[in-house]
C-alpha cells in the first residue's frame, strides 16, 4: 500500500529556509513491502523501555520545575482508528522561558531552569492512552526570517509497528497566535494542520494542580 503523502508537508518549503538544501529532488522510488517494511522497531523498543513521564520533577534535583504545569493526554491510533498499545513516545521541549537544555548556543537571553531537563518518555496502555505531566513550553525566536518566533510546542518521536510508522512531529497549543506566522507549522497542508494542535480539555484538568490538554496521535504503517 502506498501511503498518501498529501497529509504531510513537502520536503521543500522555501519559507522554512533550511529545507532548500536538505530536500531531495528526485522522485521517491515506490517499492513493494517485504518483511523489512512489514516490521519495525516500535514493539521491541517499547518492551525495553520504562516510563519517565513527569517532566516537572524528573531532573532529580528534588525541586519542581518553574512554569505552568500541564497534563497532556490522548490516544495513539492507527489509521483505522484502532488503539496502539505499548507504544513508546519520546518527548523534548523548551522550558517555560523558551530555552532548551542543550549545548547549542542561543542568542536568546532566556533563563535555564536547573529543575527542568525538558526530556521524558511515556508508554501507551492497553487502550493506546498516554499521559505525561510537564511545563508549558515558552515560545522562542529563531533565525529563519526577521522577528521569527516558534509557537509553543513539544517535540515527539514515535517508532510504531512498521518502518513506515516512524513519526517525528510537534504538538502545538490551540489558540496560539504564533501558529499563523510559523512556516514549520504552515508547511503542512491546511486540511491536516489541526491534527498537530492539542485542545484544552477541562475534563483533563486536575483541580488545584494542572491544566489539561488533549491530543491524539495517528500513526501510518
Amino acid at each position: 500500500m502506498t501511503t498518501d503523502l498529501s497529509d504531510h508537508p513537502p520536503f521543500r518549503y522555501p519559507d522554512y529556509r533550511s529545507t532548500i538544501k536538505r530536500s531531495p529532488d528526485m522522485k521517491m522510488i515506490e517499492i513493494i513491502r517485504t518483511l523489512t517494511e512489514e516490521t519495525g522497531p516500535g514493539p521491541i523498543v517499547a518492551d525495553l523501555s520504562s516510563e519517565d513521564a513527569d517532566l516537572t520533577t524528573n531532573a532529580g534535583t528534588g525541586a519542581a520545575a518553574i512554569g505552568e504545569r500541564i497534563i497532556v493526554t490522548g490516544k495513539v491510533l492507527d489509521t483505522y482508528g484502532g488503539p496502539l498499545p505499548k507504544t513508546l513516545i519520546e518527548i523534548w521541549q523548551a522550558n517555560a522561558s523558551g530555552r532548551y537544555t542543550h549545548w547549542r548556543e542561543t542568542e536568546f537571553p532566556a533563563p535555564l531552569d536547573p529543575n527542568f531537563l525538558g526530556a521524558g518518555q511515556c508508554l501507551t496502555d492497553d487502550e493506546g492512552i498516554y499521559r505525561f505531566t510537564t511545563i508549558k513550553p515558552g515560545p522562542y525566536p529563531w533565525g529563519n526570517h526577521a522577528n521569527a518566533w516558534r509557537p509553543s510546542h513539544i517535540h515527539l518521536s514515535l517508532l510504531g509497528p512498521r518502518v513506515r510508522s516512524r513519526l517525528v512531529t510537534q504538538m502545538y497549543f490551540e489558540g496560539d497566535p504564533l501558529l499563523a506566522l510559523d512556516p514549520i507549522f504552515n508547511a503542512v497542508p491546511e486540511h491536516s494542520r489541526s491534527r498537530m494542535v492539542a485542545r484544552y480539555d477541562h475534563q483533563v484538568t486536575v483541580p488545584n494542580w494542572a491544566l489539561g490538554w488533549r491530543w491524539d496521535i495517528v500513526l501510518e504503517g
Binding site: 536538505r22 531531495p24 517525528v168
Partner: protein
C-alpha cells in the same frame, strides 16, 4: 480511515532525548560484527552536522526481533545515531544482517533499513543500505532491481578499512548529482 498526524522536523535539539543508541552488539549476539559509518550531505555537498540516522535490520539468521517476548531478545535490530557536530560522522557497531525472504519466496540480499532526519527536513527519508561485497546477492535482490541501474551504487556501503572488523562506509546525499535513492512504500 483517519488521517495520520503530519510529520514535522526533528529540529536542532533532538539530542536532548534522541541520542546515540548505536552499539547493537554484545557478548551474546551472534554474527559477524561490523561497523557502519558515514555522513549525510546537503545539496551544496556540505555535511549535515545535526542529522539523526536510524537503522532497522535482521539478525544474523535473517530474522527480525519483532517481539522481545518479555524483553529477552539479545539483538533488537534497532539503532539510533546522531552525526558528530564537528565531523558529521555517524556510526553503528552492529552485525552483518542475514538474508530475509522476499514476498516471492526468494532471499533478499543482506540489507539494513535506514531512516534519516535532520533540522531542515520536514519529513524523514527512507532508504536501504546494501553491502558492496555481496554483489551476487545484490544482483538478484527484488528491491534493488526496482532501482534504475545507474542509481544503485548510492545504496552500496563499501569497505572503507578493516580494523578488528570491517568498517563499511555509507554516505547519504539528500540532494544533488549523486542523490541517494529514497523509497516510498
Amino acid at each position: 480511515m483517519i488521517g495520520p498526524t503530519p510529520s514535522q522536523t526533528v529540529g536542532p535539539y533532538f539530542t536532548m532525548k534522541l541520542s546515540n543508541n548505536n552499539v547493537l552488539i554484545g557478548p551474546a549476539v551472534e554474527g559477524e560484527p561490523i561497523r557502519i559509518e558515514g555522513r549525510v550531505f546537503d545539496g551544496d555537498g556540505a555535511f549535515v552536522e545535526d542529522a539523526l540516522v536510524e537503522i532497522w535490520q535482521a539478525d544474523a539468521a535473517g530474522e527480525y526481533a519483532v517481539s522481545a517476548g518479555a524483553g529477552t531478545a539479545k539483538f533488537t535490530g534497532f539503532g539510533r545515531a546522531e552525526s558528530d557536530p564537528t565531523t558529521g560522522t555517524y556510526w553503528f557497531e552492529t552485525i552483518k544482517p542475514g538474508r530475509v525472504p522476499d514476498p516471492e519466496g526468494e532471499l533478499q540480499a543482506p540489507h539494513v533499513s535506514v531512516i534519516v532526519q535532520a533540522r531542515g527536513m520536514l519529513r524523514p527519508v527512507f532508504t536501504r543500505l546494501y553491502f558492496s561485497d555481496e554483489m551476487e546477492a545484490n544482483d538478484a535482490d527484488l528491491i534493488l532491481r526496482m532501482v534504475p541501474p545507474e542509481r544503485r551504487s548510492t545504496l552500496l556501503a563499501s569497505v572503507a578499512r578493516v580494523e578488528d572488523r570491517k568498517v563499511y562506509q555509507f554516505d547519504v546525499r539528500l540532494q544533488g548529482d549523486e542523490e541517494t535513492v529514497f523509497f516510498d512504500f
